[in-house]
Every structure is written in structure tokens, then in C-alpha cells.
């Protein structure tokens, strides 16, 4: 028998949490929290500093800043007038066109990816969408103004001629502007640019539809399309609305491409083939040559734009999140 030499009992390790490193831990977690707070701080700072900088313009114009359609920074006589209504209108029209064109395409691609695509094509399709997202907006603008717009003029002429005898339509598809730089061109470029985000969010939403629901639809004899309208859409409607709103936020804030192709006119007209301007585009076009109240007014446009996009994005995220939580819950 071997006698084990009883070891000198060492003190048990200190597990109470008072040993070294507590301070480091505090510092570390505090630091990460601070960086997290940075997001909130920046958003708050944006609102505060830009509003303060824009205050002279807001004070001058009052509510007229968003209800007046006269934008005259350098009048021959009298005070400059800054009414942004024409630009708010331009942002709304170009974004609306972008949604009308871009959303069906995006949801189509998302459906293709989730319901139709064979495995090999799926990778390719995802790559196409990713590449679209990777192309800088200024390159779309360059292409839009130098390649697309001159070609689209011919299409616009043709549409204008066809629509001329139809009341209502003939005011929407009015006389096209010669350069092709118009609300419509801006809308088309924007449509291309919102496809990636709307597609990727729609895809996420569509992929939450439980397979059991789809199978059930098929078992009842539905065709593929009836399965999509009967099982997929009702289930994912809320999330798709969120995806569309995110696309809207993108379209409203897009600056450079729009400013190159929208024409740069202060114009409120139902004619989508006419030149106009959007809030973001005006800022970037006129910022360089502005001073004093003019600069303040441009920054004021930025404040309005910021408020609008934050509201739209926040609402969209909440809608998407709620929809996803509900769907996931139903799926399990």
C-alpha cells in the first residue's frame, strides 16, 4: 500500500470576484457602452446642430419654409425667399415613381430566390443584387445623365404622343424636356438603386413563411402562383410593407444620382417628363455657392429631410421587426 503524502492544503482560489481585473472589467464594459451610446449621441447631435444652424432660415420663413413654392435665393430686389414646397414635391414624385417601378421588381426577385430558383441560379441572382448595391450612386448618376437620359427622351416623346388624346394621362405624360433630365429619369435611376435593399429585406421576410403553409396550399390543389398569393403574401404582408418603406427612405435621401438626372428646375407640375428638383439634390447643387441665410435654408432642407427619413426608417424597422417576431413565433 502506498501512502499518499498529504499535500499542504493550498488556499482555495479566490472566486469571489474581488481579485485583480475588476477595474479593467468596469473600464472595458463602460467603454463599450460609451461606443454604443455614440450612435444615439450622433443622431441627437445631428438634429440639434443642424436645426440651430438652419434657424435663421426657419425664423425668416416660418411655416412658409415648407408651404411656399417660391425659392429665390438671389432676387434682383427685396429679401430672398426660401419656400421648399417644390423640392418636397420633387422628392415625393421621384420616390413614388421609384417605388412603383422598383418594388414589383424587388419582390419578384425575392420570390424568385425563395420559391423558384434552382440552387445554382440562386447564387448568381444574389450576386447580381449585391453588385447593384456595390455600385456607387455617383456612377449611376454619371451613367444616367450621359447615357440613359438622352436615350429616354425618345421613349418619353413616344409615350407623350400615345397619351396625348387621353385626358388625365396627357397631363401626367406631358411634353418631355429636351435633355431627358426629369422626374421620370430620376425615378428610374432611384428604382435601380432601391432594388438591393428592398430585395434583401423582402427575402428575409419571405423566408419566414413556414413550409407547412406552402405545402398545405399545394395539397389543396393550388398552383404555384395561387400558393404565393394564398399562403406567402398574407403571411408576410407586414414585413413586405416594412421593406417598401425602407426603400422609400433610401429613395428620399438619395442625393447625387438624383441631382444629376432630375433637371434642376424649381417646378411643381403633374408632368413626370418635366425637369424638377428634390430636397437632397438642391442641397448638393447649391451648397457651394451659398452663404448666410441661403446656407441656413439649405441646411434647413437637410433638417426636414433628416426628420422625414428618420420617421420613415424607424417606422419601417419597427414594422419589419414586429412582423418577423410574429412570423417566427408562428413558424415554431
Amino acid at each position: 500500500m502506498t501512502t499518499r503524502t498529504t499535500q499542504e492544503k493550498a488556499a482555495p482560489p479566490d472566486l469571489t470576484g474581488r481579485s485583480g481585473g475588476v477595474r479593467t472589467e468596469r473600464l472595458f464594459s463602460g467603454w463599450t457602452l460609451a461606443t454604443g451610446f455614440l450612435v444615439l449621441a450622433i443622431l441627437a447631435l445631428i438634429l440639434v446642430t443642424t436645426t440651430r444652424q438652419a434657424w435663421p432660415a426657419f425664423q425668416d420663413m416660418g411655416l412658409g419654409f415648407i408651404t411656399s413654392s417660391t425659392w429665390d435665393p438671389n432676387p434682383a430686389s427685396g429679401n430672398p425667399v426660401f419656400g421648399a414646397l417644390a423640392f418636397i414635391y420633387g422628392t415625393a414624385v421621384s420616390s413614388l415613381i421609384a417605388l412603383l417601378i422598383g418594388v414589383p421588381i424587388s419582390i419578384g426577385i425575392a420570390l424568385f430566390l425563395t420559391e423558384l430558383a434552382p440552387r445554382r441560379l440562386r447564387g448568381l441572382a444574389i450576386m447580381v443584387v449585391d453588385m447593384l448595391a456595390a455600385i456607387p450612386s455617383v456612377v449611376f448618376g454619371l451613367w444616367g445623365v450621359l447615357v440613359l437620359a438622352p436615350l429616354l427622351v425618345h421613349v418619353y416623346r413616344w409615350v407623350h404622343d400615345v397619351a396625348a388624346p387621353i385626358p388625365g394621362l396627357n397631363s401626367i405624360f406631358g411634353e418631355p424636356v429636351g435633355t431627358g433630365r426629369s422626374f421620370m429619369t430620376a425615378g428610374i435611376i432611384l428604382a435601380i438603386m432601391i432594388v438591393p435593399i428592398v430585395t434583401s429585406i423582402s427575402r428575409e421576410v419571405l423566408s419566414t413563411v413556414p413550409q407547412a403553409n406552402k405545402d398545405a396550399a399545394f395539397a389543396l390543389g393550388a398552383t404555384q402562383w395561387e400558393m404565393i398569393t394564398g399562403a406567402v403574401f398574407p403571411h408576410s404582408f407586414g414585413g413586405l410593407v416594412g421593406a417598401v418603406m425602407l426603400g422609400l427612405g433610401r429613395a428620399m435621401g438619395e442625393t447625387i444620382a438624383v441631382s444629376l438626372v432630375i433637371g434642376g428646375a424649381t417646378n411643381i407640375t403633374p408632368n413626370v417628363f418635366a425637369g424638377g428638383n428634390s430636397m437632397a439634390a438642391v442641397i448638393v447643387q447649391q451648397f457651394g455657392e451659398s452663404s448666410g441665410t441661403f446656407t441656413a435654408a439649405l441646411i434647413g432642407l437637410g433638417v426636414v429631410l433628416f426628420a422625414l427619413t428618420v420617421v420613415v426608417n424607424l417606422a419601417a424597422r419597427l414594422v419589419v421587426r414586429r412582423a418577423e417576431v410574429q412570423l417566427r413565433g408562428a413558424a415554431t
Binding site: 432594388v195 395561387e226 437632397a280
Partner: protein, 304 residues
Amino acid sequence: MTTTVPPAERADVGPPSLRRAALAPRRRITNRVAMVAITLALVVAVVPLAWVTVSVLARGFELLSWQFLTEDIPNSYRRHGPGMAPAIVGTFLITGMAALMAIPLGVFGAIYLNEYGKQKPLAQVIRTMADVMTGVPSIVMGLFIYTVVVVATGEQTGFAGSLALACLMLPIVIRSSEEILRLVPDDLRQASLALGARKWRTILTVVLPAAVSGIASGALLAVARAAGETAPLVATIGIAFTVNPNLFSGQNTALPAQIFRNASQPFEGAQERAWGAAVTLVVIVFVFTVLARVVVSRFAIKER
């Protein structure tokens, strides 16, 4: 007595045909049309992508030359000929500085969200607001930095542009890093904690190394996106025609800003330079995007 009808009397028709041809024509055609439309959507998305790529390559590459990459920008829009070096240098310096600021901060933010905040209300708020921040128009970021930095210092500098780009990158880095951190298996954390390591040590020596490739990939994508941003630079960096290596003094320029300026000119010389700058920018963005892919596939962490 109940009489049951013998089956033979019930029906002469067989079981319903389940073949596709038996569908009512309306249903069959609707389905066909819808499927074709869905497939067409993808084709419609490919067209602009291919068209933009081809135009940029066709018009840009003929201008691309050693002189184009190394010479100063002509100070007249009318002049033909090369010169984009100041913009290339500016793009790399401004975007690089932005990355230096945004990536570390973003990663720490993600660590807070995934390791400390988790589902706490504050973390939820930060998460949502980071998402919202990715949707803030880039021009607004430019105006923000203009009011905070340019107005205060009285000078447009490359660094102001870097700050604006960093603000754009920050939420993207936070959200993409958080997604990756979430993929790190909890076993790793528990093993490290069980060995007595403190949380900060666990995060720095176990969690981050496991996630580093994914984080790097997300960061590269954020850099690629920032390199192509124009609007925030227009308000913050001014304009330069010669190389300005100093981010902290003097105006600067960058490729997107040059494309924007030159594209809005009616002169052919300027438009040529815009295409040349566009092809350079697209190549740079493309390299970063591919790099991100390679990093992810080479060092992918094993998902559970």
C-alpha cells in the same frame, strides 16, 4: 333498415385528374404568366447592372493610363487629357482615416450590443437607432459635419470628410459585427469563463479572434460603400487640383466628388475625366468587395 348505395352506382367518373393539363385554362395561364413575370424581374435587374458596367468600362478604360493615375487635375473643365491623382490619393486618405475611426468604435459598439446589452431595453434602442442611422441620407451627414467641424474651424479639410464618412460607416460596422458576434458559439465563452478568465479577457482573447474574419469582411464592405459616397464630401472637403497629402489643413478632393463635378459639366474633356474617375472608383470598390468575400470564405467561422 338502412340501405347503403353500392359504390358502383355512385359514380362512373374516376378520381380527379391531378395533371397540370387538367387545370382550368384561366388558372393555368395566370400561373404561367406570374412565373414568367417573377423570372423576368431578375432579368430586369441584370440589364442596368450590365449596362452601367459596360458603359463605365468602355468609356473609362480608354482614358485610363499611367498619366491619368499620376498627374494633377487640369484646372479647366474644357481641357482634354489626363490627371486624377489628387482625387485617388484623396479617396484613399479620406476613406482610410474614416475606417480608422469607425471600425474600432463600431466593433466596440457591437461588443456592447451582443455581450453586455443583449436584450436590455437600452441595447434594443441602440440597435434600432443604428438601423435608423444607416438610413440617414448621406448628404445630411455632410451637413452635420459641416455645421460641427467646418463652421467651427472655418476650413474645409479632408479630415472633415473623413468624419462624415465615419458617421456613415459606424452603424454599418456595428450591425454587421453584431451579426457575426452572435454566431460565435456560447461554448467558447463558457469555456473561457470557466477557466477563470474575466469577461473582458474572454471577449478580447476568445470571442473576437473567433469572429475576426467576419468582422473584417463587414468592415471592408463598409469601406467600399464609404469610398463611393459623394454627397457628404461635397459639403466638407472643398476642391483641390493638386495632391494634398495633409488631411488636417487645406481643401482636398476625392474620386466621387470629381465624378460629380465633371459629370455636370457640358464640356467633353470634363466628361471624359468623369468616366475615367468612375472606372477607377468602380475598380477600387470592386476590389474591396471581392476582398471582403475572400476574407469570409477563407477564414469563415464554423456556424453552429
